[in-house]
Symmetry: C3
Subunit: 138 residues, 3 copies
């Protein structure tokens, strides 16, 4: 069994954003030379997500509006976590969008459906944060 | 390390449905002859889910009503994604229910709790769609 | 490829709670002697979650209030599942918080970000329930 590990770093210049990281993960897979196995891609921070959905700007806008409705940022005083912090909503939003995805590796490539793309979801940006890519297989 | 891959195909004759796919995944596991490892089961489409919960009709009705409340289909014009499409709500619903599950394999069987069953969750049906089953182990 | 399996048992003396199980999972990892691979940690019950977030009491209170708003327990008659049962809300809450997490193993340790902690989320307690820890790797 072979394994491979890489951190992808981000510094998003806004509170929230969705970034397509599929090319970076595919590059990790090439570096790993693993042909059959699994790749785990996870946010290393608890106010961010890694998820798979559509690379379509309208949908990303819809996600943002929807998450704000389900877990509003303001008023920040509605959350006990916000004692000296203001990111409780980011911890909640990340639960809906998820921490991680696991993708099959087949013939040296990610075994994705026709529209599946991997995203980094930032809910408390303006700082350096990381995603972990771990590949295991042969 | 051994690996195994199979696609399960569905053509659900309605917009939404929950289908118990536990027997098909168990069959994949038998075919794979893998005794210890992990099985990844994921929707290959971004308006569908694979998740684990209870095989109980009342609960599936409750899921449907609940998801419609959290991410309503209509009016379709409330979503920017719905320019020529009407399935933005399906992209949102799938985030709550999840894309994938990873199940342990022990002694050649899925290592599930007493009531755990694997479901395909369709949120934009009336077309052919796929689930990927990938097994790795020994 | 090596594998390791352990069940963690809980009997939470309340309907809902969040329990930090990171030390128990790390202990499993030590027992497994696996240095590179993946660890799957999943609830074996469909009214409970395993998830990764912050070990902060204020946030756990916020999670509880938020989940109750998105998927209220009462009135229990609002759910068809509640025919002789009263835990439909627990099945819903668990979908938002998730069934499982998969964590990378690097150099014999869980490869977690600075604030990542693993939690057992109970939504229908007052009974004995289990979490599965499955490790694969080398």
């Amino acid at each position: 069994m072979k394994s491979y590990r890489k951190e992808l770093w981000f510094n998003i210049p806004s509170r929230r954003a969705f970034i397509n990281i599929t090319p970076q993960v595919e590059e990790c897979l090439n570096d790993s030379r693993i042909k059959e196995g699994l790749v785990l891609v996870n946010a290393m921070h608890i106010t961010a997500s890694v998820f798979i959905n559509d690379d379509e700007g309208g949908l990303h806008h819809d996600f943002d509006v929807w998450l704000e409705k389900l877990a509003p940022h303001a008023p920040v005083s509605q959350y006990r976590h916000n004692a000296g912090e203001d990111n409780a909503d980011a911890h909640l939003k990340r639960q809906i969008m998820g921490r991680e995805c696991v993708v099959a590796i087949t013939d040296g490539h990610m075994d994705l459906g026709p529209w599946e793309q991997i995203f980094y979801g930032e809910f408390d940006g303006n700082r350096r944060k990381r995603v972990l890519v771990k590949v295991i297989g042969e």
